[in-house]
């Protein structure tokens, strides 16, 4: 195979389009559509007494106003609970428009449709809702006391409660193991809320064709196939009459995997009802208060360990702030509690979480999805063990590592896919060795001393993680070679800028032996591929990548069979190179893939010169069998699916050097190093891009981002002026090294890379600040103001 593109640093093919304004995002579509706007609750918890729309009806250009009362059956039902779980005993989801009670600021109450968005907002501002205020429940610890309730029928505000316990080899429970350990520590950790915050918010645009009763919906979603099923079910339409397309999507980071959003149901419904195109584009303020957040947890940790720092028992209790609703189930706290163990062999482990309702925006996965909290917990634990024993922090980690000869390694837990948490492969000691070299771990003490002599404070930190990627159930790929020799690849999952057009094309070009520029890729369009799950959990490359490879192999086999007939050669002697099927050792004997595609489809009618070769009098066909043999299909195309037995586990280790200003308490990241192992790399440049973006978001979580709710449940920083995401100026240069430990679980040997960068950053920065300051850092994010407070309390 000369067309070796797998593993190459191929430039992203989507970028010229996306960075020159040629992208088609949701709001670029439907310029003539009616616009929807929503009246949203200004209160965190209130009963709706009355809605008065009379002042709005005079707004010129107003088309419709809807409240919950106006919604028909199914549409008016609560939104689906997407991932039920036995431990989620009190799952609750919102109504698409509030019915009686609002449970967070931003909950939609009234839908307005008007000629344009300006008028829709004018009308919305004239609608008055009479609220009876109820006691807002804010703060996970206050909520857990259960004095006031978010949902009247959920006692204690506990949506879910779950315990997983893995005894030690000797059969000790974690608590027994801790009590019996030579050393024990107990501490509390806090992680603030943040959010996915894609540059492009959510958005829905629906077109109803009344003549053939079909609906086309464009949604800025991470799962068009699932939105399609939800919309068809809600609106009572046959599935074949509904198409859902994810156009170019300006970032998702998890928030757009949730579906159907109220707007994804209401906008198509209104389009059907009104017989007009309707569009809603979320604005930034709406995104802050009406989509989803993540991360907020309080963790109580007890750990017992030996003189080497080996963890004999670990007991973690987590209060997980789930906001007002649980549409995505309890995936986030499950991931936290299972991925907490990282690359370590832990003696005995017990984890208990309570998923608590509060009168705040609902919590659903955001890139990393519970893992940053998990890694913060485990890595803070490792640092505290090292500090307690006076040992090197890297050495304590090494003492706990699972070793390369121990794979597959069963952690004894049930993962987010309902399957056993079994690590498939990895090389953690080697990762650490490479990381230490990259950051200069061993020489840092002298560097720190030299800095101190100049009155500067610097510190070094590290963090390790393991990430379950490529969760099932499946993805599919369809590959078609058309008679012009072009290769059309489609898969049902969606793209939000990850570079799928490039990596999937690399896979197809490599498998089929065609030049990259002949391959085109379509994602997230149900017209092209109807069966899919979605883009989340670092799964696109693993799932669709393998499915596309398998589909390509089918096409390849078929092409070789047809070419073998045409060339009168043995298929085993054939190769495909540069889009031509060639006979090995016979340079003259070849047939273009384009011609193979023509021959693959027996024709009665020649539509062009080339097509004549496939018609009935061309003499090409064998007279001994039907033109389309039994078990065959016309056309040079193939479809296949990849469904893994369980997740594949990528891993990585990060280290940073930070400087803290002794006077101003400013925190600056001087260096940031990443060692990353996602199995075989399809495109190292794209993997590095994913890591860079992830680290940038991680820096946000470590130093900047928080959702500042006051005691009334008002979000005080619902704008980009006050919700601080790092700029390029706040993100350090990221130095990267790759390990490639192939996954034995899938044909391509790959693991996911999408979320990796974000996972350990808070842990790493906390570790480094702690090293610089000599003060425990147990809450993230940390601001200069908070560091100043820590110093004051420590008396330094």
């Amino acid at each position: 195979m000369t067309t070796k593109l797998f593993g190459e640093r191929v430039q992203r093919r989507e970028d010229p389009r996306l960075i020159t304004g040629q992208g088609r995002y949701l709001d670029d579509l439907g310029q003539d559509a009616l616009a929807a706007a929503f009246v949203r609750s200004p209160h965190a918890h209130a009963r709706i007494r009355d809605i008065d729309v009379s002042a709005a009806v005079d707004v010129e250009g107003l088309v419709a106003v809807y409240t919950w009362e106006d919604l028909p059956e199914r549409v008016r039902d609560p939104l689906p609970l997407l991932i039920p779980h036995p431990a989620l005993t009190h799952g609750r989801t919102a109504y698409p428009l509030a019915r009686d009670i609002v449970r967070h600021v931003g909950e939609p109450v009234v839908m307005v449709v008007a000629r344009d968005r300006y008028l829709a907002e004018d009308a919305a501002s004239l609608i008055t809702v009479d609220y009876e205020l109820l006691k807002p429940v804010v703060g996970v610890e206050e909520a857990a006391q259960g004095v006031h309730l978010v949902h009247e029928d959920v006692p204690g505000n506990v949506g879910a409660h779950m315990i997983q316990e893995v005894p030690s080899a000797a059969g000790l429970g974690a608590r027994e193991a801790i009590d019996a350990a030579p050393h024990t520590l107990a501490f509390r950790l806090d992680i603030e809320r943040s959010a996915s915050m894609p540059l492009e918010g959510r958005g829905v645009y629906a077109r109803w064709d009344a003549d053939d009763r079909s609906l086309r919906v464009y949604s800025s979603t991470q799962t068009s196939t699932s939105v399609r099923m939800a919309v068809a079910a809600k609106l009572g339409l046959p599935l074949p009459s509904v198409e859902v397309i994810a156009p170019d999507v300006g970032g998702g980071f998890g928030v757009k995997i949730v579906h159907p959003w109220p707007e994804e149901v209401l906008v198509p419904w209104a389009a059907m009802l009104l017989g007009r195109e309707v569009k809603w584009t979320e604005d930034r303020r709406e995104h802050f208060v009406s989509s989803a957040h993540e991360r907020g947890q309080v963790q109580h940790v007890r750990v017992g360990f030996d003189d080497e720092g080996r963890v004999l028992g670990l007991d973690v209790t987590i209060l997980h702030d789930h906001g007002a609703y649980t549409p995505y189930g309890i995936i986030v706290p499950i991931i936290t509690s299972t991925q907490l163990l990282g690359p370590y062999r832990i003696g005995a482990y017990r984890v208990e979480f309570s998923s608590i309702y509060t009168n705040t925006v609902q919590v659903t996965p955001y890139r990393g999805a519970g893992r940053p909290q998990a890694t913060f917990c485990m890595e803070r634990t490792m640092d505290k063990i090292a500090a307690h024993l006076g040992k090197d922090r890297a050495a304590v980690r090494e003492a706990n590592f699972i070793h390369p000869d121990e794979f597959p390694y069963d952690q004894g837990l049930i993962f987010q896919d309902g399957r056993p948490l079994i690590y498939d492969s990895g090389d953690y000691p080697e990762s650490l060795r490479v990381l230490k070299g990259l950051i200069g771990w061993d020489g840092f003490a002298e560097q720190k001393e030299r800095a101190a002599a100049e009155g500067r404070r610097i510190g070094i930190g590290l963090g390790c993680y393991v990430e379950g990627t490529g969760v099932g159930p499946y993805e599919g790929g369809h590959v078609q070679v058309t008679s012009d020799g072009r290769v059309h690849v489609s898969t049902g999952l969606t793209s939000q800028g990850q570079g799928h057009e490039t990596v999937f094309a690399q896979i197809a070009a490599t498998e089929l032996g065609v030049p990259l520029d002949r391959v085109s890729v379509v994602t997230g369009d149900t017209r092209r591929f109807g069966y899919a799950v979605g883009t989340f959990a670092s799964r696109a490359a693993v799932m669709s990548g393998n499915a596309i490879a398998l589909a390509c192999r089918k096409v390849r086999e078929k092409a070789l069979g047809i070419a073998a007939d045409a060339l009168e050669a043995d298929p085993r002697d054939l190769t495909i190179e540069d889009g031509e099927v060639r006979v090995a050792g016979n340079p003259g004997a070849s047939i273009p893939l384009a011609t193979v595609a023509v021959l693959s489809n027996p024709l009665r009618y020649a539509f062009d010169e080339e097509a004549k070769r496939a018609t009935q009098f061309s003499g090409a066909a064998s007279m001994d069998r039907p033109p389309v043999a039994e078990g065959e299909e016309p056309g040079l195309e193939g479809r296949d699916y990849y469904s893994p037995v369980r997740s594949t586990f990528a891993s990585g280790m990060h280290a940073a050097i930070v400087e803290t200003d002794p006077e101003t308490a400013e925190i600056r990241i001087l260096r940031y190093a990443v060692v990353h192992d996602c199995g075989r790399l399809i495109n190292p440049m794209i993997v590095e891009g994913q890591i860079h973006g992830g680290v940038a978001q991680g820096v946000g979580g470590a130093l900047y981002e928080r959702m500042a709710y006051d005691e009334h449940g008002q979000l005080l920083n619902a704008s980009f002026m006050d919700f601080l995401m790092p700029y390029a100026t706040e993100v350090p240069l990221i130095e990267t090294a790759h390990l490639e430990t192939p996954s034995p679980l899938n044909p391509l040997g790959i693991k996911g890379a999408g979320e990796a960068g974000v996972i350990p950053v808070s842990a790493v920065i906390a570790s480094a600040i702690e090293d610089a300051e000599g003060i425990a850092v147990d809450r993230m994010p940390i601001s200069p103001s908070e560091l100043h407070d820590l110093r004051s309390r420590a008396g330094s």
């Binding site: 300006y118 004018d122 501002s125 101003t664 900047y704 601080l724 706040e730 200069p784 103001s785 407070d789």
Partner: protein
């Protein structure tokens, strides 16, 4: 995030702009650079029924270096002022502060006078005007223009002495006296954010290079820029032997910052002390350099400025 309906006016002459303002007051709002106003309109935090867009009033797009200072017209963009060598030569504190204002794209559009009128106590330019003792010139239909000094102009957070029918046509930033250095120091959460604390400093030395006058204006330290005269604390010593700790303590005593989601009042107070001290030290060093260097430069350029330059370049400056 779309604004409420408003009538849009786009006058081409100053007189016309003032007439419109007079006719629509108090329901009109002036649009210059729009870097604060447009987001406020879009979030419906402001809902004026008339928007008076002055961007076509050519005479307001002025920037002149006058005797004794810089006059900045209402349409002079931050970037134009920041990049003007003439401005930098006369009042270096202006470009120094402007480099800290938000980001280049905002400075390309935003105006200096607009920032003053917005009167955000966290913003750099009000502090610069305050510490320099500058003025804002206000015009009103059918009335003479009036110059309002900074200390009277800033009346509260986002509040100034401008009346609804008035237009701020320019601001005047006085040039520093001889042997004077200036500096601006701030700490923001992110590059370009409003500062959690910061200080604009002006230090003037006497002929013996002792600190004759030291003033700071602190940002995010109160409802308006907080101007503190620290001359007494500096006790007419040379910078090298001034009691900077006492200076920082005096600054901390002199400010009254608030808590917000980005920083506690306690931290802001601490930080203001640190930054005021740093700014004053830099300004004092700059003043020493100016006192020293000005003579040297002028001598080498052969400029006859009536100054008697000493052989060591530290001549007496009699301007």
């Amino acid at each position: 995030m779309k604004p409420s309906p408003f009538d849009y006016h786009a006058p081409r002459e100053l007189g016309e702009a003032l007439e419109v303002l007079a006719g629509t007051a108090p329901h009109g709002k002036v649009l210059a650079g729009g870097q604060s106003l447009i987001p406020m309109l879009n979030m419906r935090l402001a809902a004026p029924s008339h928007l008076v867009d002055i961007n076509r009033v050519a005479e307001l797009d002025a920037l002149s270096v006058e005797t004794g200072g810089v006059r900045v017209g209402a349409l002079a963009r931050h970037a134009a002022v920041e990049r003007s060598p003439a401005v930098a030569a006369v009042q270096p504190l202006l470009p120094a502060a402007l480099r800290l204002v938000a980001h280049p794209v905002i400075r390309n559009r935003g105006t200096v006078v607009g920032s003053l009128v917005h009167a955000d106590p966290s913003a750099e330019l009000p502090a610069v005007l305050a510490v320099l003792g500058g003025t804002v010139r206000l015009a009103r239909h059918g009335a003479p223009e009036r110059d309002v000094p900074a200390e009277a102009f800033f009346t509260g957070p986002l509040e100034s002495a401008i009346e609804p029918d008035e237009l701020a046509v320019s601001a005047f930033f006085p040039a520093p006296p001889p042997r004077t250095g200036t500096a601006f120091q701030e700490v923001a959460r992110r590059h370009g954010d409003y500062a959690m604390a910061g200080a604009a400093a002006v230090v003037t030395l006497d002929e013996d290079l002792r600190i004759a006058s030291a003033r700071v204006a602190c940002v995010s330290a109160g409802p308006v820029p907080v101007v503190l005269d620290l001359s007494e604390v500096c006790a007419r010593r040379p910078a090298a032997s001034a009691d900077w700790e006492a200076v920082a303590a005096a600054v901390r005593d002199g400010v009254d910052p608030d808590d917000d989601i980005h920083a506690t009042a306690r931290y802001r107070r601490h930080l203001t002390g640190v930054l005021a001290e740093r700014a004053l030290r830099v300004a004092a060093a700059e003043a020493e350099r100016v006192a020293d260097g000005r003579a040297a430069v002028r001598m080498s350029e052969g400029v006859d400025d009536g100054v008697n330059h000493g052989a060591n370049g530290a001549g007496e400056d009699s301007e």
